[in-house]
Amino acid sequence: MTRLAGQVPVSSLDQLAAEIPNGAKIAVPPDYSGVAMALTRAMIRRGLRDLHVVCVPISGLQVDMLAGAGCIGTVETSAITLGEYGTAHRFQAGLKARQFRMMDATCPAVHAAIQAAGKGLPFMPLRGLLGTDLLKNRPDWQVIDNPFETERRDPIVLLPAIKPDFAVFHAPFADRNGNVFIGRRRELVAMAHASTASLVTVEEIRDIDLLASEESAAGTLTAAYIGGIAEAPRGAWPIKLWDIYDYDEAHLKLYGEMARTPEGFARYCDEFVHEQKAAE
């Protein structure tokens, strides 16, 4: 029988990854929010293909690994960066080899389009972008004249809502009813509202009720949005999780070196993705 937290199924990482079909559109957060890296490794093990990854608003290691493993059909992002840990080699190689479609954006455009979906709106306007090659290369974005401005010409960009199938992220804990603590990381709430369901990994499930007090409820994503939870201690590793644990610098350096070549990346996956199955 499936374990439940309230009405939310609690499963293993591989079971959670199995919820995602080929071709799914998934929304993922930036490093500072909580990246579901253990689940990402399970997704690679599952051999997912043709994912449309929406980075809200940027990503790094997660997309580099998914690109290297051939899981991606489209990348929609404002940046892919490994920061101090060097170049995103697998992402760059995949882009050059036309292995996926690239949709370059700018951070507030991704946020706005996600918010549009969260409000059930077809689009959201955004200031800026006029005269850019970003706009030129996004046929899905349109420019209209602001209908409320009558004195002068006021072109403004419209962004279609981004409606992901799944928001995928990692958080410190969920409560016994499947509510997830997200603290001040409100972009996780926006992602969850925009997506059909959220697949969430947590450090632990606590036997508490986050909605019982105003203080904890204010930092909570309510369980109604959650499609599944898996417990994954250190589930953001080797990326940091808030102020709970830091980047694993030595490991990221190792990744940066191994992922320079497809062969090195394959060896990395043998050692840290496929072999980890039992551990995770």
Partner: protein, 249 residues
């Protein structure tokens, strides 16, 4: 005159350029702008707020990643910093890639981040790129991540006030849509700037040296400011303020 490093001159210059701002933010990978902003705050007598991306102690935002952009849209964000793999003479910036045909560019950079909107909304954008070469400062960028001001009547409360590099400070003339060489850093020359700049710019007959930090400012920078920015950029502080790092602060 006290001796100072290249980075200390840049931090001091940034702090000067931020005078009078109420709210300043810095973005990803920005230790020098971050230190400059924290210095400006320390000198503001409590009138300035600074948000350092990646900091815990100096990040007061609590409504998610969108809040910074909402602040800019509301007109509350007075200053921000943008760089570029390429920057051209019309102040177009390119954070995406160079050479080849987009998206399969020969060189690919991380991406445009928030530039596509912030450049249009923040009144005092400081373009900051340490490398001052013809590779970076080009006649025309290969990809426009964010466009320089066009003066075409479209909504544009924001834009660049100038471009700070390792060699000089160019002010941006919003009317002419051109850079003007405003000051050259001590130890460098106008000829050096000319030789290493790929775009045309205006140049007065005499160009002053960029003002050096005074002893009091240097002392502040090397103690409180270095300690503050070390929270977010420990490697930068170890490299630029080794005495502080050695003291174990």
């Amino acid at each position: 005159m006290s001796a100072f490093s290249r980075q200390e001159l840049l931090i001091n210059t940034i702090a000067r350029l931020l005078q009078g701002c109420r709210l300043v933010a810095t973005g990803a990978s920005s230790p020098i702008p971050g230190a400059g902003a924290l210095l400006a705050r320390a000198q503001s007598g409590g009138r300035m707020r600074v948000n350092v991306l990646g900091s815990v102690r100096n990040d007061f935002l609590c409504d998610g990643g969108v809040e910074l952009f909402d602040l800019a849209g509301q007109g509350r964000l007075d200053a921000f910093f943008l760089g570029g793999g390429q920057i051209d003479g019309q102040a177009n910036i390119n954070l995406v890639g160079a050479g080849g045909a987009y998206p399969q560019t020969d060189v690919r950079w991380p991406g445009s981040f928030g530039s596509g909107s912030l450049y249009y909304l923040v009144p005092r954008v400081i373009l900051f790129r340490e490398e001052h070469t013809r590779r970076v400062l080009v006649p025309k960028v290969d990809f426009i991540s964010s466009a320089g001001p066009q003066n075409d009547g479209t909504y544009r409360p924001g834009g660049p006030i100038g471009l700070l590099t390792n060699l000089c400070w160019f002010a941006f003339d919003r009317e002419q849509c051109r850079f003007r060489l405003e000051s050259v850093h001590p130890g460098h020359t106008v000829e050096e700037v000319r030789d290493n700049t790929g775009f045309d710019f205006d140049c007065p007959a005499t160009v002053p040296a960029t003002a050096a930090p005074d002893a009091e400012t240097l002392a502040l920078m090397r103690t409180r400011i270095a300690r503050d920015i070390a929270e977010t950029y420990p490697r930068f502080v170890a490299q630029v303020f080794p005495d502080l790092a050695a003291a174990g602060d």
